[in-house]
Amino acid sequence: MGFLEGVTAQLPTLVSGLAMGCLLYTLALGLSLIFGMMDVLNLAHGTLYLAGAYVGVLVIGDSPSWSTYLVALLLAALLGIALGGLLAGMVMPLAGRGHMDQALLTLGLALIGASLMEAWFGGDIHNVSAPPALSGNVEILGQFYPVYRLALIALGAVAAVLVTLLLRRTAVGALVRATVSDRDMVRAIGIDTRLILFGVFGFGGLLAVCAGILGGPLLGAAPGLDHYVLLIALIVVVVGGLGSPAGALLGALLIGVVQSLGTALVPSVAPFLLFGAMALVLILRPGGLLGRVSDGEPA
């Protein structure tokens, strides 16, 4: 087998890595923005994702169709905003206390959420089917690609463009960026940063829960998935740079590809490959690829 064939044989893996990356982007974006806003490391982010995945199991289940998908996404969006708002409301009283207490609170909520979901849905692995029109494979240049993953990549691209426009071209986006870079100054010019905080938590929650629906056909829904998803999203945020939306995109695509190529080619060392990628980025750029350098360096 020549080198070229060897490379093309890995193309489907690359594509599924990119699809995974798009899914990770939606998670990491919320995580990164929430952290940038008020130094809250939201350890319940994976729990939000898993809640979305279970919404998918309940609503879509064995009868995948466009209408059930839309209903599921709508429900997920509402649930995400509600849960995000709840998190913001619970974190708010701890605002002056430093990062540790807030991280502990979200950790506690993550544990509670995971227990409740396990009590409700049991320990089994639930699978969710892709919408019927997207469930097959398509042949491109002699390789077969799952349509659903290609659709995820397209969706991820659209989402990235929309979010960039929202953040760069609108007044709300400017406010969010300003709050990330200097919260006190935004407050000093008379803007209620608590509203922005609720908004960003709600938006992050929406993205995370909807990601649970979209990721259903890839990862299913099972106890422990919340930790896995949180872990990968954390690595993405560390690699991309905290508080940087573009960094979240770059990190998500990079980690998605490293993860799926690693799992396909050298399955036993895949976790160490992820660590290696993360270490390499942090040595070269301590604040992440697109982060402010000062975030990573010791004070």
Partner: protein
């Protein structure tokens, strides 16, 4: 466990102290020395007045509180909120277990091997961790812990994968078979107490003071000429070794280790133990560890498997109402009395 007898002992201690006047320093330290002697006596006597189940829970408590001590050292003393501590615990456990299966069942060899394994893995990952701080550290250490857990899960040939490493033979000490609950308890007690003393000495040493300085203001310590990076790296490696020892003691008793012992949930358990205790207090961590072990072992049967839920509720309650943990209780009570 032994609270009633401990309080009874406490009540008797002042009556026995001599009435004749001593130097003021003796008046202050005397009761403490007596108290320490009494509690060490109580600890060593446990196999004679507790039933087998209670002794086995006490053994668990000893090795688990050592893990909490390693986090007190790294987080409380040096200000590095590590969620990777349980990973080094697990690495130590695997090292001890593999040694017992393939090479020797000597408990002491297992302990040394586990300490080295914890040290090596902490060094291999710590150089990266110490470059970061605060939330970045938390995040990165969680990622490292989970990756090590995933590694233990994936390396089927050596670790047994997700089933865990079982069939670890019962360790021996000299000619003693440590499968006997009483011997096992005493062995664990000696090793844990020894390591506890080492950790306490490190915390009280100039090195420990420098670490507190770095925790409170790293830039100031660097301006004073301390090479703060080396201090952090050194204490992180020591913390890894202590966690490894704790893992070895745990495996010596449980004779099983699985990727679950390295991961997120295990880290959360230790973190909560230390937070209950007040982060910068070894005795507090002991109380916290006892709480966690009690939750694990004494939940009513209808609550079986609900440990994480209880833990989560506990965390939320602590964050809102119990700042400073057990260590801050005396100050709080004093404030209430005023």
């Amino acid at each position: 466990m032994s609270t009633e007898s401990a309080t009874a002992e406490l009540a008797e201690v002042p009556a026995e102290t001599p009435a004749e006047p001593r130097s003021p320093s003796w008046r202050r330290t005397g009761p403490r020395i007596l108290l320490a002697t009494a509690s060490v006596g109580l600890l060593f006597g446990a196999p004679w007045y507790l039933d087998v189940f209670a002794v086995s829970v006490a053994t668990q408590l000893l090795s688990f509180s050592l893990l909490a001590a390693s986090l007190v050292l790294v987080m409380g003393t040096a200000g590095m909120p590590s969620l990777a501590q349980s990973a080094y615990f697990g690495v130590g456990g695997y090292a001890a277990g593999l040694l017992a299966i393939h090479v020797t069942q000597s408990a002491v060899a297992m302990l040394v091997c586990a300490a080295l394994a914890g040290l090596v893995f902490a060094a291999a990952t710590g150089w990266l961790l110490i470059r970061t701080r605060a939330s970045y550290f938390l995040m990165l250490s969680l990622a490292i812990g989970e990756l090590l857990a995933a590694g233990a899960n994936g390396w089927m040939d050596v670790t047994g994968g997700s089933d865990g490493l079982f069939g670890i033979p019962s360790p021996t000490l000299g000619g003693l078979d440590l499968a006997v609950e009483g011997y096992l308890y005493l062995y664990t007690l000696v090793m844990a107490l020894g390591t506890f003393v080492v950790v306490a000495l490190i915390r009280a040493s100039p090195f420990g003071l420098a670490l507190r300085g770095i925790r409170d203001s790293e830039s100031r310590m660097r301006a004073l000429g301390y090479r703060t990076g080396w201090y952090k790296f050194a204490v992180f490696c020591i913390g890894g070794a202590v966690a490894g020892v704790s893992g070895a003691l745990w495996v010596t008793q449980i004779r099983f280790v699985s990727p679950h012992d390295l991961g997120f949930m295990a880290s959360a358990f230790v973190l909560v133990a230390v937070i209950i205790g007040g982060a910068d207090s070894l005795l507090g961590a002991l109380v916290g560890a006892a709480t966690i072990i009690a939750i694990r072992n004494f939940l009513p049967t209808e609550w079986e498997g609900q440990g994480p839920l209880v833990l989560g509720v506990l965390l939320v309650v602590i964050v809102y109402t119990f700042r400073g943990g057990v260590a801050a209780l005396p100050a709080r009570l004093a404030a209430l009395r005023k």
